[in-house]
């Protein structure tokens, strides 16, 4: 029979009338609320968090698949014109503010680099954290480049750049309701920007947890999951940009 190190008061669950057997007691990790040594199981939590973000990605993808199919269909769709009694297509090609969009793309790609560096940085910190707890061991003061902060700045830079791109498009006469092609431009870039804002908020939250002195292993999970999300949002942008270009 296994022994328990903690003083948890065990309530033996009773089976229904008819008498049940006592539940099997298995010693070791499964039955404690902690992994080895009484520490929270950060590896398990990381795996779970990564699984969560992986499960969430199909949902974001479905939103953009729906909008893509709306775009493709709308582009080819004729509408019945009463005056000529024929079907006519009304797709007006939109002139994309290309230089701005390319700069924004570069900024976003750069931000994925800084995001990845931030992720690796905190992974190292989390790996070394147990070492720090050994009395008498010092790893010295490390200077950490604020990769996460850099990512936030770049992310905000991208959003500002998109706002400028919107202004340029609007000034050239393409507002959201001007033509279906411009509607889709604002729609897709707007939805993408919204998702990026979500990523920025997550990074700010990760920064806040640092200030609140949460354990580095817990913070690492937040940053790790945000990083994967960030990479996804960057890939999504490449897709949207290509779509808007080829289907303009």
């Amino acid at each position: 029979m296994a022994s328990f190190e903690s003083s948890i008061d065990l309530k033996m669950p009773q089976a229904g009338h008819g008498g049940g057997s006592a539940p099997p007691l298995v010693g070791g990790g499964d039955n404690d609320n902690h992994g080895d040594g009484g520490l929270p199981d950060y590896n398990g939590r990381l795996r779970r968090a990564r699984l969560g973000i992986a499960v969430a990605l199909p949902t974001f993808i479905m939103v953009f698949i729906a909008m893509t199919s709306a775009l493709v269909v709308r582009r080819g769709l004729p509408t019945f014109d009463d005056r000529t009694a024929t079907y006519v297509r009304d797709w007006l090609q939109v002139t994309l503010p290309l230089p701005l969009l390319l700069i924004n793309t570069l900024i976003l790609l750069l931000s994925t680099v800084t995001m990845e560096l931030a992720r690796r940085q905190i992974t190292r910190q989390a790996a070394l954290a147990p070492v720090r707890t050994i009395p008498g061991v010092s790893l010295g003061e490390e200077r950490h480049f604020p990769w996460m902060g850099a990512t936030v700045v770049l992310g905000l830079g991208f959003l500002v750049g998109q706002w400028l791109a919107w202004n340029e498009l609007s000034d050239s006469g393409f507002r959201i309701s001007t033509s279906p092609s411009s509607s889709f431009f604002y729609l897709l870039t707007g939805m993408h920007a919204l998702h990026l804002v979500g990523g920025v908020v997550a990074l700010l939250y990760a920064g806040a947890t640092s200030l609140l002195q949460r354990p580095v292993e817990a913070r690492r999970i937040v940053v790790d999951v945000t990083a994967w999300y960030w990479h996804f949002v960057a890939l999504l942008w490449l897709y949207i940009f290509a779509l808007l270009w080829f289907v303009r």
Partner: protein
Amino acid sequence: MGLALLALIWLITFVSTYFFVAKTWWLLPGASALAPIIDRQFNTTYIIMGVVFVAAQVSLGLFAWMYRDRGTATKVNYSHGNTTMEIVWTSLTAVLFIGLNLVGSPIWAAERFAPAAPDSVKVEVTGMQFAWYFRYPGKDEKYGATDPKLMDPSSGNEAAIGLDTSDAASKDDVVTGTMFIPVNRQVDLTLKAVDVIHSFFVPAFRFKQDAVPGLAIHMHFTPTALGDYEIACAELCGLGHYKMHGMVKVVSQADFDSWLAAREAEKQ
């Protein structure tokens, strides 16, 4: 309790089946060429589904009673299933369902894949909140242009559909609020809608098609019996949906010709 369940389930089954078999409330008498064929497919589906319905519900009620717990006398069959039976009834169901569908598909093809015959009667049906208008193209067999800017529903007929009288082809177009068609000739319908989606439904013809703004949908059917047949709008179109009612009058060719001539004369 098992007996009570059996009684209720069987009662519900037999009462509903009675009304299905007695056809107390049934399809309106068919008045189009396709109606008997559609009705035959309907009856086939009806009988098959009816048999399945009765069999399933009767079994359910029967099992509830037969296999009630009767104390120590009841022996339970510890079984996790029977793969052979699974395969058998899955295959049978698949064959039945998909077969039923395939048997009916030539009817769909006949009505919808093929365009109208060249000598069919052309009628354009326009739906708007909350009335149907019918336009006949006249001797030139061409519908004149319409213009949204000219639409004025309160004036009815030509103005309601925005007929552009400056177009030469419009001169002989006749617009009415009641649809007249000659019997035994195919009708080439063009369905349009001006504001929201409506649906042109004539139950006696086994005919239904949504009228969608932005589209001009071609559909055809052939009326085979003289009479007056009601049109009911079959797509929610606003507060007047329930009274978006119209009438199709199927008359002889001669009566149709004279009616059309009278309408054209009125326009002068």
